[in-house]
Symmetry: C2
Subunit: 193 residues, 2 copies
């Protein structure tokens, strides 16, 4: 029992890992714990739009654990391209440490979910990636392009980065977003070309 | 698709509903969105300690939606006894409104999870309640009794309020907590008797 308690208290640190988007109507930045909760519910709401039949429970499991590596490695905006491989190793080391706080069986279960997401090779992982990538776009589209403007992210960068994973996991969601992104490009909600 | 987007953006408001506990090492109060994420993982870690065999996926579903009614009704500390029934009606009205943003099938699925938790009649709901009630206790036990001291909550109030649901859903967890609560009573981590 103490192992489980140590693990869940270690998880508390994800509440202090901030992202680049702000919750609607709040001044602060969003953290990776509340983000994980929101995309689990986005995935649950969207499940019938998945590109292939999926096991939703595994998708939710992946989304709940996918950011835990940030406890040691921090959050980096999806548009920061450098050191992607180094970062992936750092997150893998982090989850090995953190899941390792648990009894072996639970540790293995969480690690398998994390790895499935990380590798992105299953329909469930692709759908989970679509939800993860779509959420900050949806927030920006409701927030005047907040994190795109604050970080000088251009419309074409957004499309280049999020279209492939969202289209692969949830084509209907990409169709919706493509139109909305085009509309807000005209409204100047992106960094300058 | 627009219905799903409206729903998930409405969920954003739960990030602004604050509870009485503070995340470890942070100055601010915890919000109900990140709390929901953490207890879903607590439940997943604890599943083999459940009092009866459970369908963990339904437990996780319940925990992800159980606080959504607070978007309209706010969070009230578990030790605030007054108006419990009024509050329950307010939360029920809130989830009817918020899940009602979704297409009928998803709305019905989320509402069924919320009601199962609210009624507390199944092994899954009892286990989910145990995780929900235990988490702020675990945080306080790691945080010098922070919210108990700030709100003048006595040791006997904690035991009276959390022992029955935690024992009913996850007896091994209550056994662990009972000893820890007794230890910290001696350290003065509670409101005065």
């Amino acid at each position: 029992m103490q192992q489980i308690v140590d693990f869940v208290l270690e998880l508390d640190k994800l509440k202090g890992i901030t992202r680049k988007t702000r919750p609607l109507g709040l001044d602060r930045y969003e953290n990776s714990a509340e983000h994980s909760w929101q995309i689990a519910l986005l995935a649950a709401s969207l499940a019938h739009y998945a590109e292939e039949p999926i096991d939703l429970d595994r998708v939710i499991g992946m989304l709940l654990v996918h950011d835990i590596g940030e406890i040691d490695a921090g959050d980096v905006m999806v548009y920061a391209d450098s050191n992607r491989q180094e970062r992936q190793s750092a997150e893998a080391a982090a989850v090995t440490r953190i899941f390792g706080l648990l009894p072996e069986e639970q540790a293995a279960r969480f690690l398998a979910l994390w790895q499935e997401f990380d590798e992105g090779g299953t329909p469930e992982a692709r759908f989970a990636h679509a939800a993860d990538r779509a959420m900050p776009v949806l927030l920006n589209l409701a927030n005047g392009g907040q994190s795109w403007l604050e970080n000088g992210i251009r419309h074409e960068q957004v499309v280049a980065r999020v279209a492939p994973p969202i289209r692969a996991g949830c084509p209907a969601l990409w169709e919706y977003l493509e139109t909305r992104l085009e509309e807000e490009k005209r409204n100047g909600w992106f960094g300058a070309e």
